[in-house]
């Protein structure tokens, strides 16, 4: 039913198409890329888009088209993993805080407040500064940053669902708290969580690109949208294609996830119709 309504949501379908296209590029990168994204060609530095190099080449003569295609792998994997790694603890802690309330809630809430009091990117930079720059650490840093978001959403929905009669009925029929949370509460607050996942994915893509741009993400030869942009910085005036194409890639995927997320919100939340 929800799916049918989603099909009729034009913006949502555009978003979904963009996301699927993005996923396809990431999966099929080796077949789509025309050249080795790491191959340096000293004779072919900073050449504009042509038949051989669709998006032109960068300052080291590497093919930007292939780098952007391969870069989508890193962007998607990092953002998916970090959102997943943020969602699991966020939802678990949020449902515990919402369901048990009182001191459980107070302790978890203080901790989340502490995390939220730092600007997201600064906190991520701090964590990477401590642990060293690698994709693995980017995932950890981003998951720490996004955990409170899922925590807050889950806690809020659990708080309102806890007052519902069917939860009281579940208590009265002798269910354990874990069964009540897993079977009666969480299935009913999936809608806001799903919406939050898609929106967070968009943010995570930007965050990953920002960190890579600052040299804190994927270590240099590996292509990621952020470090392609970063490499292109010095040539921006003379060779705009170096910045334009990875920029378009970032924009497209972020807009795609946001459109998809907004559509899901419209479809899953009856109050906003």
């Amino acid at each position: 039913m929800a799916w049918k309504r989603f099909m009729e949501h034009r913006i949502g379908m555009i978003g979904l198409t963009v996301i699927l296209f993005n996923l396809f590029l990431a999966f099929a990168a080796p077949w789509i890329a025309t050249q080795d994204p790491l191959k340096i060609e000293p004779k072919n530095i900073a050449s504009p888009p042509s038949k051989a190099n669709f998006f032109g080449t960068d300052g080291l003569g590497r093919d930007i088209f292939s780098r952007v295609i391969y870069g989508s792998r890193i962007s998607l994997i990092v953002s998916l993993l970090s959102v997943l790694a943020a969602m699991v603890p966020g939802v678990i802690l949020g449902s515990m805080a919402g369901y048990f309330g009182r001191w459980v809630d107070i302790i978890i809430m203080r901790f989340m407040d502490a995390v939220m009091s730092f600007p997201a990117i600064l906190l991520a930079i701090g964590i990477i500064a401590v642990r060293g720059g690698s994709l693995y650490n980017v995932v950890i840093a981003l998951s720490v940053v996004y955990t409170p978001v899922f925590y807050r959403i889950t806690r809020g929905s659990v708080l309102s669902l806890k007052e519902k009669a069917f939860v009281e009925a579940a208590m009265a029929s002798g269910n354990t708290p874990s069964t009540i949370i897993a079977r009666h509460i969480l299935p009913n607050c999936m809608a806001p969580i799903i919406v939050q996942i898609t929106v967070s994915l968009a943010y995570a893509i930007i965050a990953e690109a920002s960190l890579s741009f600052l040299g804190l993400g994927a270590p240099p030869p590996a292509p990621s949208w952020g470090n392609i942009l970063s490499d292109a910085r010095d040539f921006m005036m003379d060779a705009p294609w170096m910045t334009v194409f990875p920029g378009i890639a970032i924009t497209l995927s972020v807009v795609g996830f946001n459109m998809f997320g907004d559509a899901l919100r419209d479809v899953l939340d009856p109050r906003l119709k």
């Binding site: 309330g101 009925a169 009265a172």
Partner: protein, 324 residues
């Protein structure tokens, strides 16, 4: 007498920022096997909190302060949380006020019945499914094999309440607490639902605590009536004694407040009676008899001291200074 549930001097208080709200203040109840006890009173008099106290699921900041609740010979208030969990839904079931929201919207009816069964009994999914279908047939839901696959929103109100009854009676509990089971239903469906409930509990020898403010229901179905007012029992007794020979001014007032279809229509009929005043705040219960500020026969002593229990006839007792 075969007594299944015996509540002695139950006190459940809510400790809020505004103070202590005494929601249940010294309630005594005695429930016989396969009988129906009507628990009546105005909103906020402690009916539902009494029910939640029996199952020990009083929400925070409520606490059972003192008292004893005997299920046969076991004091429920002395059991561990795990032992108590074994009793909920198994030996004592509850049906809630609103059937519309008492079923989980995310799962099918069958799924919920099967889960409820598997919380307490070791049965396979297939066995549970058969039992669930059987139970739905017993509560007269047509085509249970089809209904079992449907979600709560696909059923009508009466159907949902019958599904709730099926879920509550699935494990053949000794006690069924029905908290305003028919308030949200059509009058015509009310009778049907209560009839089903009555027949099934008679077969299973289940006792019912029927919580309601509908005195008509109580007169028709209950054998024993307990009248609550501001967290205390005012009068209790067999249904005939209460309806034909009510002594307590509050009970009398309640009985006169029942509207009849002809009220106010005929020329000579009087206006519907009302009990003047409002239910006292639970934070600030009047001294002496809690009903005295609204009582028409109030005496000097009523505002000073709590009335003692007086027995009028076997089983018919009340707390009122007028009869001391």
């Amino acid at each position: 007498m075969d007594i299944v549930l015996n509540i002695k001097d139950l006190k459940t208080f809510f400790f809020t920022r505004e103070g202590v709200a005494k929601a249940v203040n010294g309630v005594n109840l005695c429930l016989e096997r396969s009988k129906i006890l009507g628990l009546v009173g105005e909103s906020g008099c402690g009916k539902s909190v009494t029910a939640l106290s029996i199952l020990r699921i009083v929400p925070h900041p409520g606490k059972i302060v003192s008292g004893e609740i005997f299920l046969n010979d076991v004091d429920l208030l002395k059991l561990s949380m795990e032992e108590m969990r074994q009793i909920r839904g198994n030996r004592i079931s509850m049906i809630f006020q609103e059937p519309m929201v008492s079923l989980n919207p995310a799962f099918t009816i069958g799924n919920q019945l099967i889960e409820a069964l598997r919380v307490h009994r070791r049965v396979t999914k297939a066995e549970a499914r058969n039992l669930a279908i059987e139970m739905l047939r017993m509560v007269e839901i047509p085509a249970p094999e089809r209904r079992i696959k449907e979600f709560p929103h696909q059923l009508s109100g009466g159907m949902r309440q019958r599904a709730m009854i099926a879920e509550a009676l699935l494990l053949k509990p000794e006690i069924l607490i029905a908290d305003e089971p028919t308030t949200a239903l059509d009058v015509t469906i009310q009778a049907q639902v209560l009839d089903i409930m009555y027949r099934l509990t008679q077969e299973m020898k289940t006792a019912i605590i029927l919580i309601t403010h509908n005195l008509g229901l109580v007169a028709e179905w209950a054998q024993y009536v307990v009248v609550l007012y501001a967290s205390k029992v005012m009068e209790e007794g067999p249904v005939e004694a209460i309806f034909e020979n009510a002594k307590h001014p509050y009970t009398q007032g309640l009985l006169r407040s029942i509207p009849t279809p002809t009220q106010g229509r005929r020329q000579n009929s009087e206006k519907l009676h009302e009990i003047k005043g409002v239910v006292p705040s639970l934070y600030d219960v009047p001294r002496g008899c809690t009903f005295h500020p609204r009582c028409l026969s109030c005496k000097a002593i009523c505002s000073q001291e709590e009335p003692p229990w007086v027995t009028i006839s076997p089983g018919h007792r009340l707390a009122c200074w007028l009869f001391v």
